[in-house]
Symmetry: C2
């Protein structure tokens, strides 16, 4: 029996459309072998629409998107739009409105991938970044703007409700992994109120997961370990802002943001989850077929996993691994990489005897 | 004519006293050749005093410290004290009360130093971290603590006054360096109020320094460049929290926090500035003579530079470089490293004909 899924596609700005079309191509290629059918609806959101209409994410569009099974997002942001307008008005609005409280960012150093680290060891961890609280809530403001007496605030909001649900999710993920290790990252020696809420919550939930080993690192120390001993990490759970910072660094040590996928997940499944590469819109190389679509394609694999088709997700990941292992020094176009991975998906399917 | 300086010494917790005594030894060794005399006053502050009296930094002690020419600090923090008590009540209280608005953290990869990066290039930059504002102000709180309805906030406070003075200081430092490049690091696409204040301030001050090239990076992207292309950085100016995170990473790529020195500087010289290694109290190795005193010794060099004796500062740095270049695989004790650097200081003095 064919399972049908409706996908909302927000290709967005810059290289977003280029990489998203490769991700969709790979989803199309893998669908028949797993009895999947995807219907897609494109949403024209981002800089173009903002300039044309002044809109970032109209409520009616948000409600339409809400009706889908999942969202595939390319990239948001353009230098022609003031910094923050599209990020807050579109990308973060989606994450917050759809209550994507688990921002899932796996980091794995695939064989054959160049890393800036001299001796990287075996890197394979996942960051569970809180997605609906912290300094990202948009609470803050400014007075006397543009005068010598300007004062600007940013308020980080943290609730027991919000912290506990993401901590519990992270524990469950750690429990399901071979090493069963959870590292809380915060800065509880300075941000004592938020930090102690996080620390106390981890301590309170820990007894429910007796097999999981827990430790704690200040965010500054965590950046040190990410470059000196990344193999120490298994699951990291952290605040929205710290997660933003750590996952770019994590991407850098595992071959760059061209390979880093992410999911903005609502584990309660009351809303569609959203899958997107960690990279941005890279306006400098947009439209030149230079962007690496691998991160977008791997985000498609995370989408499949979330939709309950882990075999298909694993097949895409294996195809990416195979393609990466064979990458030479000659740069390929966005389409060539997408095509090669799609071909590899087909080959793997044939090898396993699925049509 | 001998110049006399009074130093307040806060050796602090863990390895603090061990490394501080090596820094003082080197200052003593270098003093005569440059006609310097140091008088020191030890302040018993940190975990011991907290347990004995409940005090972190009594007002009377703060006032005494204020009377000195500079402060040499070892490290603060102990697992026996709840996280945040000594950090907020002592270390940050000193930085804030003495208006140390420039937290100066140079990063240089000395020849012969092991780095986790495979191809580090020529790393030589300085982070000017704001020291008296941002999420470090201690503004925030929590309600319904320990209940399922707990809510905790942390408020980042940023003023035109506070941002402008540190930005101007960073521009002046960039101006004085060969490459004359300033990078603002923030997250102005999310923290729009604080971020735009920083961006506008940099844009407003830039015309006063026409020779300085300016660019901007989001904090997440900055961590990527710190591991993929650290040579691109010359002077970084950033917020208190981002500076905390970036400078630990910067230390990691330049050989570790055992080598990273810092100054908490009040450029207006209305209060004593404070010099300390970037590393913490490392309670796990305290009292074992295993700590590397190099960062404390280099902090002494920053202190001399601030006190207007750059030749002496350069001599210490050269001595450290010479010692580092000769470091073998056999670990030396804290005293042995301090002794070797002190000897190297003496040798360099003799070579240059100073007694
Ligand atoms: C574009 C920006 C708002 C976003 C974030 O800060 O979350 C990005 O950096 C990310 O990590 O997805
Ligand atoms: C100990 C801690 C309060 C401190 C800070 O966060 O500033 C430390 O990490 C540092 O960088 O000096």
């Amino acid at each position: 029996m064919t399972r049908s899924f409706s996908l909302a596609v927000v290709a967005g700005d810059g290289i977003g459309p280029e990489v998203t079309s490769q991700a969709l191509k790979v989803l199309d290629v893998i669908a028949p072998a797993h009895d999947l059918a995807f219907t897609t609806t494109d949403y024209d959101l981002g800089a173009r629409r903002y300039h044309a209409t002044g809109e970032t994410l109209p409520d009616s569009v948000l409600e339409e998107i809400r009706g889908h099974d999942a969202i595939l997002l390319g990239a948001i942001g353009d230098p022609s739009v003031p910094s923050g307008v599209l990020e807050r008005g579109l990308l973060l609005k989606l994450r917050f409105a759809l209550d994507h409280y688990v921002n899932l960012r796996p980091s794995k150093l695939f064989p054959g991938v160049a890393t800036p680290l001299g001796d990287p060891g075996d890197i394979d961890f996942v960051v569970v970044r809180e997605g609906t609280e912290g300094p990202y809530v948009g609470n803050g403001g400014a007075i006397r703007v543009g005068t010598p007496h300007e004062l600007a605030t940013e308020v980080s909001i943290n609730t027991a409700y919000g912290v506990e649900r993401v901590v519990r999710d992270a524990f469950a993920r750690a429990q399901a992994r071979p090493r069963k290790k959870l590292t809380l990252v915060h800065k509880n020696n300075v941000l004592v109120h938020a930090g102690h809420l996080w620390s106390r919550t981890v301590a309170a939930v820990a007894p429910e997961f007796p097999d999981v080993t827990v430790d704690y690192l200040h965010v500054d120390a965590a950046t040190i370990f990410l470059v000196t001993d990344p193999a120490r990490f298994d699951v990291i759970v952290t605040d929205n802002l710290f997660g933003d910072i750590l996952t770019d660094l994590a991407a850098a040590i595992t071959g760059g943001i061209g390979l880093a996928a992410s999911g903005n997940v609502n584990p309660d499944r009351t809303t569609p989850s959203m899958f997107e590469p960690v990279h941005g819109s890279a306006p400098d190389i947009a439209g030149q077929s230079k962007a690496d679509p691998t991160a977008a394609i791997l985000s498609g694999a995370l989408l499949l996993e979330h939709l309950g088709v882990p075999e298909a997700a694993a097949q895409i990941t294996a195809a990416v691994e195979a393609d990466i292992a064979g990458r030479g020094a000659v740069p390929r176009s966005t389409e060539e990489v997408g095509e090669a991975i799609a071909q590899s998906v087909t080959d793997l399917g044939a090898a396993e005897g699925v049509p």
